[in-house]
Amino acid sequence: EDKVVQSPLSLVVHEGDTVTLNCSYEVTNFRSLLWYKQEKKAPTFLFMLTSSGIEKKSGRLSSILDKKELFSILNITATQTGDSAVYLCAVEAGSYGQNFVFGPGTRLSVLP
């Protein structure tokens, strides 16, 4: 059975701290790994990763994939209160594609 695990499940930091969120997976026919930010209801897209070792960056956020060890990390530097959210990792797998298995999410709280 396809599985995505995220750690930690929750994290409390202060503004300015750097955080690393982890995502590991066991799926058949891996196609891509996506990171989403969910603040209230609709998850919003952050990154899509398909190749090992290539870092994706957007402002203070960055992410990288290791397809050999089956994991990805999401880094957030100089955290701000607006970064408080649930961060979801999703892995696209299966024969037909567009079948996404989500992890439970990491709830990040950034205190002022």
């Binding site: 995220q6 996506l34 209801k41 037909y96 567009q98 989500f102 439970p104």
Partner: protein, 115 residues
């Protein structure tokens, strides 16, 4: 350009009732997927519709059914509601085979409470 729209935003039902949730995909998208997100958990894949047919299905009972219309909008139906069906139901649209960087575009969801 409207994104993914879902209706209603909130719904309260009692056990045994039936419910229909609606979703309009982002303009230009042809595929709609439905997810169930229980409190404190990640979204779980229910099923996916493309060309008005169910293309893939997750591990959900037959009480969960759907439909896609020629204009690509979609409905999710749940029969014989159980307390455990209480969750946020998310609709996500995509363009099948798209090479673009964003594969799932989510709506804001329908919060279903079963009493």
């Amino acid at each position: 350009d409207a994104g993914v729209t879902q209706s209603p935003t909130h719904l309260i039902k009692t056990r045994g009732q039936q419910v229909t949730l609606r979703c309009s995909p982002k303009s230009g998208h042809d595929t709609v997927s439905w997810y169930q997100q229980a409190l404190g958990q990640g979204p779980q894949f229910i099923f996916q519709y493309y060309e008005e047919e169910e293309r893939q299905r997750g591990n959900f009972p037959d009480r969960f059914s759907g439909h896609q219309f020629p204009n690509y909008s979609s409905e999710l139906n749940v029969n014989a509601l159980l307390l455990g069906d209480s969750a946020l139901y998310l609709c996500a649209s995509s363009l099948l085979g798209s090479p673009t960087n964003e594969k799932l575009f989510f709506g804001s969801g329908t919060q279903l409470s079963v009493l």
